[in-house]
């Protein structure tokens, strides 16, 4: 699924790096715990989170996560936007809550893969 399609599915606004919206993601990860993201995410993931701080962008960078969508209407700070812009990470925002966001993406065909088996 392209990030553009994911954004439409989530009724999300793209905050930065919109020109990269044709990139593909293979799965999504919904978490407010960055250590869990590092433990379970493998590749080409759309990260969904309600967490707002610079460590979300640092985690995305370290994990090669191409796109981060902030749920529940959360808005990233300018510092986060600037860092994401520089690192080539697409930021999105949606007013949908986490559960509904994950459900909509799953229903639209984003069904996992690329995550560690427990």
């Amino acid at each position: 699924m392209t990030i553009k399609t994911a954004a439409q599915t989530l009724e999300a606004q793209i905050v930065c790096n919109k020109e990269m919206e044709d990139k593909d993601v293979l799965c999504a990860c919904g978490s407010d715990l960055m250590s869990d993201v590092m433990a379970f995410v493998k590749e080409q993931v759309l990260l969904l989170t309600g967490l707002i701080n610079i460590q979300v962008i640092r985690t995305a960078n370290l994990m090669d996560i191409d796109a981060v969508c902030f749920v529940r209407g959360k808005q990233p700070t300018q510092e986060m936007i600037d860092m994401a812009q520089e690192l080539g990470i697409i930021l999105l925002t949606t007013k949908l809550p986490m559960f509904i966001s994950c459900g909509k993406l799953y229903e639209a065909g984003l069904k996992g893969g690329g995550v560690r088996t427990i």
Binding site: L33, Q55, L62
Partner: protein, 145 residues
């Protein structure tokens, strides 16, 4: 190549700078994404721990043709029980840190999972030294680690 970083203890938002820099350097050297992530996760978690629990510290990084050795040294309160701390889900982090997205007991676990060798020396009241060694694949092959 030898690198040295000072990890600040008073500014949580700066934690992660050193691991991002090491990842960038390894990427420039031509290492694949899998090994970059292992190094980045192990060092990033150690940086976060240093910032959260120990008031900062120092990181010494040695990169050779075959391995990277990361030594994280702090003068914090020490780890009361290393064995417990290594268990998934065990955490002594204050609630404020958990609200920042860390401190859910996966930090040391992630460091262990992503290191080929992990050594933790901790003395209560004196500090902790964490040494992580990760094997590096030969640069002239496509071998995935």
């Amino acid at each position: 190549m030898n690198l040295h970083y000072t990890i600040p203890g008073d500014n949580f938002s700066l934690a992660g700078f050193a691991s991002a820099d090491v990842k960038k350097k390894l990427k420039e050297m031509g290492y694949n994404s899998a090994v970059l992530k292992r190094v980045a996760i192990a060092m990033y978690e150690a940086e976060i721990n240093m910032a959260v629990h120990a008031g900062g510290g120092e990181a010494f990084v040695e990169i050779t043709d075959t391995y990277i050795k990361i030594i994280m040294k702090d003068c914090g309160p020490g780890i009361p029980c290393v064995e417990k701390a290594l268990k998934e889900g065990y955490s002594t982090a204050p609630r404020m840190i958990q609200e920042l997205g860390f401190g859910a007991g996966m930090g040391l676990h992630n460091m262990q999972e992503n290191s080929d060798e992990l050594d933790i020396e901790s003395t209560m009241g004196k500090g902790t030294t964490v040494t992580m060694t990760i094997q590096l694949p030969p640069l002239d092959t496509d071998e995935i680690f």
